[in-house]
Chain length 205, copies 2
């Protein structure tokens, strides 16, 4: 595989997903950090050379740039056990990754960013107005995960896949956004299972 | 392939994506409609039998249910030219599909739904407050698409893929959400190209 460089903001769960995939697969990953709180992913150079969307993570593969955490995880994991061989299971993995990006991350991750990184006092009026809706939607996402995990070890089939990595990233730090994970015992059991797997690394590693 | 049933709300672009993939591949698709304005995807029966997330589309494959439009499109298109054979291009296709769901659909599609389906007078205060931000974000998504398409025929490589289908669905009806597509000429040219392909069907077909 060509040289891999992760353009990232280290505390971001979306960036952590890619590091976690690389760790499980034993792939070397060079890391290049940007402080999103200082706007370092909105500079003309970043927009021109790394990602016109002004966002991290971006996985650089040789001279090519791949934004979007799910796409980068998929690229790294193709041909590995992290992607199921069964056609339905493979699509079902993408289903949970889409759920994470659409229903989970904009609520669970955004509240963590707002409350633990910006801080409640620094929020705009629009952010303050959106907070209760995001709390309800984040709880609904955790409810759905808990119900799904009640009689399963992992999200798809009976194996650990990219779906688990995608959902682990922001769920295990949801407490920083004010979600009390004790409310979701099946989720807690699954978090422990994922964190106990060989090859696992922590978000601050 | 097992019998395919699409659980849908016909005017939804997310549902249209799946019909468009099936049309291009010549796959028969039985359609079952739900009126989301009447809450028909939030009934106990729907939540239990079709999708605990209370959302459409859901692709039913035999007795199994697959929510999320991107996952359903991927399931149908595996092994077809709609998914690139090259590893980087395949991931890059997923990247544009993720961009669509995260940066495009929550803005471009939501404004269409709010303005053309609910109507400006029926919006809640929270929706009214969110409207200007969604307008700016939707325009930014269209800007990025326009720049990308300036020297390309399709989003990934030089072929029509699921990325084009995913982005076509809500872009071609963005006018219903108050976006003036004349501002984005490269997008317009691409919309015409996609609509002119053999096998194409309209959203109301």
């Amino acid at each position: 595989m060509e040289k891999l460089v992760l353009h990232e903001y280290a505390p971001s769960g979306n960036c952590y997903k890619i590091r976690l995939v690389a760790a499980h697969l034993g792939l070397p990953l060079e890391r290049r950090g940007y402080d999103i709180l200082k706007g370092e992913t909105r500079t003309p150079a970043f927009l021109r050379d790394v990602n016109g969307n002004g966002r991290i993570p971006v996985l650089q593969i040789g001279e090519r740039f791949l934004p979007e955490s799910g796409a980068a995880c998929f690229y790294l994991a193709e041909g590995s056990p992290l992607i199921p061989e069964d056609r339905f299971d493979r699509a079902d993995m993408l289903r949970w990754m889409a759920f994470e990006q659409y229903n989970h991350e904009p609520n669970v991750a955004t509240l963590r960013f707002w409350l633990a990184f910006i801080g409640a006092d620094g929020l705009s009026d629009a952010q303050k107005a959106a907070l209760p809706g995001k709390r309800v939607a984040g709880e609904a996402a955790l409810d759905l995960m808990d119900e799904h995990l009640r009689d399963r070890h992992y999200f798809v089939g009976e194996a650990f896949t990219l779906a688990d990595i995608a959902l682990f990233a922001y769920t295990h730090v949801a407490g920083e956004g004010g979600f009390d994970l004790a409310r979701w015992p099946a989720v807690q059991g699954w978090l422990d299972r994922v964190a106990g797997l060989p090859g696992h690394i922590a978000i601050d590693q």
